[in-house]
Amino acid sequence: MVIPGDSAMALLKDELMELGSSADIVRVRQQVRACALELGFGLVDQTKIVTAASELARNTVDYGGGGTVRLQALNDGPRRGLRLIFEDSGPGITNIEMALKDGYTTGGGLGLGLGGARRLVNDFTIQSQVGQGTRVEVTKWK
């Protein structure tokens, strides 16, 4: 399967998971670990992408009111990657720049989730519309 508009990149795997509870966060961690292992990621990179997935999944559950995550294993010529797309239709983020700052939180957390997750991956994009929801896409390349 080839991703439209990205002719060179092949999709090795594409899986959608529900995110509704803290048990789902554990399941996502396990699934991301298995996928990273399959792609041949080293232990540190596995741990980084699983940790990022855990932070973002918790955001989806706690702030987004639940949603989904899509796991994609990518083959882009010489490199392989693991892409995670988190989507919710929650309240959205008013100020993304603030939300990415360490220590900023509107909930009871540490405020490390978004900014921390960004540091643990290679590509990071976030889109959010107040009242519509939030979409975070991250990719870790091997």
Partner: protein, 131 residues
């Protein structure tokens, strides 16, 4: 709901986290441990996380909370056995676990707890004699 077992060994409480904890389980452990410290009057808590493959900000905060709460309840906490990949990831995530004592393994952790107990007026300690 599942619970993580807390073992008592003399003056110390021992916890080995062997499952991938969901958030509520982590919160339950925090509550159970503070309860047990106050029940038993334990002066030390050792938490073995060598089987944990992921410590995210939530679990990190739980460890820091346990250390802070036990300190207020007159007990020291040592977290032992963190995997190197977990340590690297935690620092990059931005979590330095300030105020949490760590040791490489259970043996070194017990040593650290005993040392801190020796300096403790109410402890079993055979520390330096007071003159």
């Amino acid at each position: 709901m599942d619970r993580i077992p807390i073992l008592r060994m003399g003056e110390f409480l021992l916890v080995t986290i062997q499952v991938d904890m969901h958030d509520r389980l982590a919160v339950a452990l925090q509550d159970d441990l503070t309860e047990r410290i106050s029940q038993t009057g334990a002066h030390g808590v050792l938490i073995d996380i060598s089987s944990l493959e992921v410590v995210d900000s939530f679990i990190g905060r739980m460890l820091a909370n346990i250390a802070a709460m036990s300190r207020i309840l007159d007990a020291s906490t040592v977290v032992v056995g963190m995997q190197p990949a977990v340590a690297i990831t935690l620092v990059e995530l931005g979590l330095s676990l300030e105020g949490v004592k760590t040791a490489l393994n259970v043996e070194k952790g017990m040593e650290l707890l005993r040392t801190s107990l020796n300096g403790h007026p109410g402890g079993l300690g055979h520390g330096p004699a007071k003159r």
